[in-house]
Symmetry: C2
Subunit: 329 residues, 2 copies
DNA sequence: CTGTTAGCGCATTCAA
DNA sequence: TTGAATGCGCTAACAG
């Protein structure tokens, strides 16, 4: 049977406060008593009840993380970064998949709040106004990773600049028919930033913006695959294709190879994100590396600081990305 | 400020028991009082404190999951399956990465126990004797996914049979120099099962077992890549390579393509697991599909049954796999 | 250095 | 149908 602090106290012939002191490594306990109590703890296999403890001290050493879908590449690495730091600080993490459904986001936010988490990390969340209100109202320390919204602390990269840079790179390599596959209908999403970076690069290079080279897809492999097939059927099609993420880029590669074209000689392909597979496939994908693990780790660090009321230099961390030139371009 | 049950009671002019009854949808409350209390709850934005509740009712609606590393392909899908079912039953999940380090496994198991989780799911755990003892001692409902150990309830697939089948398939296609890349040093791990399936298939087909065609790697891309490079340098090398997982298979593919060989004509490649990328890369990988999502979902279902003391037909669920023939063979 | 006591916020038994 | 009282297991004054 599970024993509690009382059982230990009785068996050790001390009060429960002494047991509590021993468990919490209070320095005031006499060596002798400490040992005596410890012995009983071992014998009984006593484990303190964290729930009871939390109720008393009003902190749970638990944080929640809201993520669109853990089975989408890119997120697991961020989560791993979070978890490593969380573990270091003795936090456990609740994982919640929202499928980018605001209803679910709100629901989970409530559930986490009821479970008294010490903090919450939002990953690539849409952050509806309603959610933002909750965040303010509940006063649970919250940080957003990968997307930015009003005064919520965040860690991101400058996607627009990164996109411009990778398009610049293609232009430098002599391409002037450059297609982009991204989600142009996104409202306040990152994909719009990518499209803007693309446009800016063309403008600066005096390349005419051609709507036929802009494919509005989703985010998945098949969007890249189908987008590329469409582009490759065009009369004066592109010589380079920029897919807004690596999974789509891999779809593009497949489409190109199926048509028997050579990469990068006939068609260059670049992606975004640097998911692990982008280095492993053949040809490997030139891409913008987001420091995924670091984004998670830093996000968690920021969160601990907020939780502990430490002051931070900035609540808006913008990390560096890097351009990885590989076989596909 | 966060309000509690007392605040609500006072403002509504009722006792805390009545508020509690309202919150827990007890049928005995008069309509009128119910509405009155509800109104105050809304006004105050009252959210019940799940920690206090848990302390009282001794269940937390929380489960823990121990996983080697969420950033390894294959695991996120299992986790997603777990989470969907967990969510359905109103459970939240603690995610813990163990890196297959038994020390960490034990640590996390303790932490989860202290946090009073209602159940624990082990994914591809080694399950040391020590851990097994803890599992027995703590009496926390526990199920293992992807690996099997003594009397612990589990959901798995028959890896040995699956391996035999995929090797049979290669033999049927006329291959008789078949290499395998797997972790032969594994003690009680799944890789040994795979090796055994491989051996059995050869034996049945009267193909001599050639140690030079057995590469002991780890589990990662580079193990597949390097293993294949080694194999392809052999005088009488293989005409087909069986990699014990898809990530390694993708490494094999890269090595083969780099050497300018044709897949599947000169070298056939098969993998194991059916991670999503195995269908997306070019050429796509022939593989054994483990029903990852289902394994998670079913594992969670089994767990809820154990938690609720419902009887289950069997504590050892063995799921079907399927052979997916694709471009690499 | 140690023990007594008072809650933390809630569910629940027992009376009313 | 409702309320008063008790205790879940623990921490933290406070007193000794």
């Amino acid at each position: 049977m599970k024993s509690n602090i009382k059982d230990v106290a009785k068996k050790a012939g001390v009060s429960i406060s002494t047991v509590s002191r021993v468990v919490n490594e209070s320095k005031v306990v006499r060596q002798e008593t400490y040992k005596k109590v410890m012995k009983v703890i071992k014998e009984l296999g006593y484990k303190p009840n964290a729930i009871a403890r939390s109720l008393k001290i009003k902190t749970t050493k638990t944080i929640g993380i809201l993520i669109p879908d853990i089975s989408i590449h890119l997120y697991p690495e961020i989560v791993r970064g979070i978890e490593d730091i969380a573990n270091m600080y003795k936090y456990n993490i609740f994982l919640c998949n929202t499928d980018l459904d605001s209803e679910k986001e709100l629901q989970y936010y409530d559930a986490l709040s009821e479970k008294q988490v010490d903090g919450i990390i939002l990953i690539s969340s849409i952050i509806s106004d309603e959610l933002n209100n909750k965040i303010k109202e509940y006063e649970i320390p919250t940080v957003s990773i990968g997307s930015d919204y009003k005064e919520i602390p965040s860690v991101t990269i400058d996607k627009k600049r990164a996109s411009k840079e990778i398009v610049d790179y293609l232009i430098d390599r002599g391409h002037n028919r450059i297609a982009i596959i991204t989600d142009t209908k996104a409202i306040k999403s990152k994909s719009l930033e990518k499209l803007n970076g693309y446009k800016e690069a063309l403008k600066e290079a005096n390349i005419e913006y051609d709507e036929r080279l802009v494919i509005s897809g989703g985010y998945h492999f098949k969007d890249g695959y189908e987008g590329a097939r469409h582009l490759l059927r065009l009369k004066d099609g592109p010589s380079a294709i920029f897919a807004a993420n690596d999974e789509m880029a891999i779809g593009v590669v497949r489409a190109v190879l199926e048509l028997g074209l050579n990469i990068p000689n006939e068609i260059a392909v670049v992606g975004f994100d640097n998911i692990d597979m982008s280095a492993k496939v053949f040809p490997s994908i030139t891409t913008v590396a987001q420091p995924l693990y670091e984004m998670g780790a830093i996000g968690m660090r920021v969160l601990t600081k907020i939780i502990n009321n430490e002051c931070l230099e900035t609540t808006k961390v913008v990390l560096n990305y890097s351009l990885l030139e590989r076989e596909s371009s």
